[in-house]
Amino acid sequence: MNTLLATLLSGSGTQFEYTYSIAAETGMVEQADVDWNVTDWQRNTGGFRLGYQLTSNVDLLTSVHWGQQSSGYNDYYYDYEEGYESSGLGGYDVAISETLMHVGPKFSWNLKPWFAPYATVQGILIHNRLQMSDDGAFDEDSTTLIDATGVGVGATGALGLEFRTRPVGENLQLFVYGEGGATGATALQFSLKDAGADENDINIGDLGYGGSYFRLGAGTKF
């Protein structure tokens, strides 16, 4: 096993020349807001990352992640004083579809042909779609339907480690990486459009991202 790993990671002694990189990745930006309790536990998002090499040490990265969280509330609810209480109503379903886009530079320290710690600072654009209904269908036939979107912007700073295989042929090099850091972002505001008196919007409230951040990925440079 060790021999295989050493073989995979050992290069020719020089850095692989590439222009682009692409990777599939999973990760998470912490949802630092108790209002996320309306859905179940936070789940990892998944997506892909594209890279463009600017210099031998600097890449420009952009990534897109998608995820979904949902919950179904039945005919009971939890009361902090009374415990589980029977509800007079039938319950409802919630689904939040997440899209997170990152763009920013990555600064690598190419210590070895197979190993490079790096730091990255990226801007983040977050779009969420909130859907709620009594029957869980989230379509026009639902007797009740909330369909609202929210957008937030922010920034992520992270440190990472990248492991590279020896080049595959002349044009490809596989790599894996993991990075962790922190994200700060504006809250995503949701509202009921034109639902208020005089057709003004009625506030649903905001959901916030921010706090810890991590990504794990694997891809190829070419």
Binding site: Y77, L89, G90, I146, L159, L192, I202, N203
Partner: protein, 518 residues
Amino acid sequence: MKPTFSLLTALTLLSACETYQSDTRSGELWDTNVASANDGVYINLPYAENLIRVNAAGISIVDLDGAIPNRLVESPDGSQILVFATWQECKETDSDIVFPEDCDELVENSVLSIVSDAAVTSEVEIPSHLNTISFSNDASIAVAYLDYDTSGDIQVDGFADLGEVAFIRIADGTKGSASVGFSPKQVLFSPDNQAVVMSRSQVVAVDLDTFEKTLEAPLTLDADQAIDPSGAELAYDPESGVTNLLLTVQGSSDIYMLNLESKYWNIGDLGSIPSDIGVDDTTAQSVFVFSGSSKAVVLDHTQLATLNSSSLQDVELEEPSNKALMGDGFALLYNDASGAVHDVYKLDLLTRELTEYVVSNPVSELMVTESGNFAVAVVRPENNGGSDYQDSRYGLSILDLSSDESISLVAQSEPIGVALAEDETSSYALALLAGSDTLLQVNLASPNSPVEVDLPASPVSIAAMPDGNFVITHNQSLGMVSILDPATLELQTMSNFAVTNLFEQKELPRTEGNEEAE
């Protein structure tokens, strides 16, 4: 390299962990016990701790200045909504405390907010244990008191006088209070602008102009004896122009009469322990019924000054009645406690003519139309299930009070809401049945072919609104109410309102730091 690996590991693990933050909100998204006013339907959102108004124009959020609404009561004329609410105050001086859950010394202040046109017109501090509201005859004064029979926990902050009654002038929010003894039971309003409060072993009258006590009348001279009123009504004597209080007490067949002008008591014997009193101002007579005796007793108000056994006239019934529902010049006597009694009696108070109606099943609820032409009884299955189809089912019994005929209808399921409506020519019952998404409009003159109105979702309740329309609440967690025009049977449905401010955590209200931040 080792330190870098450790840092990465720590960051990754930290990111993967769910960070727990305190969130003490709970409960339904909305409370189907809505309050109807002239300007719309007011709805409590327990989870979001907000109050909203919903009408054809849309949703309006009522700014209660951070107070959390608990219960809504509409004024009789529909011009205002009274909101029992609490606001949380942190006794710690740390300016960094923003949310209630961050405070270790949290106290709750109880207020009664008076709301009109989706705005608070005045707010009155009231003791937290006051849970019941009565309105004066002209609806200008609200009287708040503690009724032990009202469901819910009794909240006491520090020490509390449970016998305190709060008087609130709705127009300007001015408040007075009086201590009326232990366990106030009922508040009545006399024509001479007095509130008469029944409590254990005494009756207290309070002047509604000054909020001063004008009378304290003990029900017993023995301080060790506890006498709890069971029922009370005000009876006007047209001959003397005097208003008298008629009072019955638990476990006793005595009728107490208090002349509110001369302040003297008179006591008579009804022969049995009464279960209900009804007063008819048209004929100036009162009717007493008895769950344990097959009779009713009629008291002529002109004989109140010389109350004795001859003043009380017995009317024999075939079956005992425990309730009296008063119409204009007549009383409907029925029994909603016994599973064996099927009789409903109409007692004409002018002629003393007694008409007996036999309904199919035991009565749960009896209503009479405003015109007095019809009565509608909601009937329930027989206690033993019954042998025949109708005995084991819910239904409606319609009593034609003009022709003395009755018709019993079998319902497919339990009626969960019944309301009466009338126009110039006809009287209707509007009925909601459990498990049905249809409202039935039953013409009481020809009840065999009800009109069906499709509802957008299964209903929970129906109630009359001040403008003559009806509000129907639906079993939809995200919020749905419909306004029914009884003339056209058209529905106007409003939904999704229960998510208003769903994702807004309430900060500590009325604190300097938070107000500046806002």
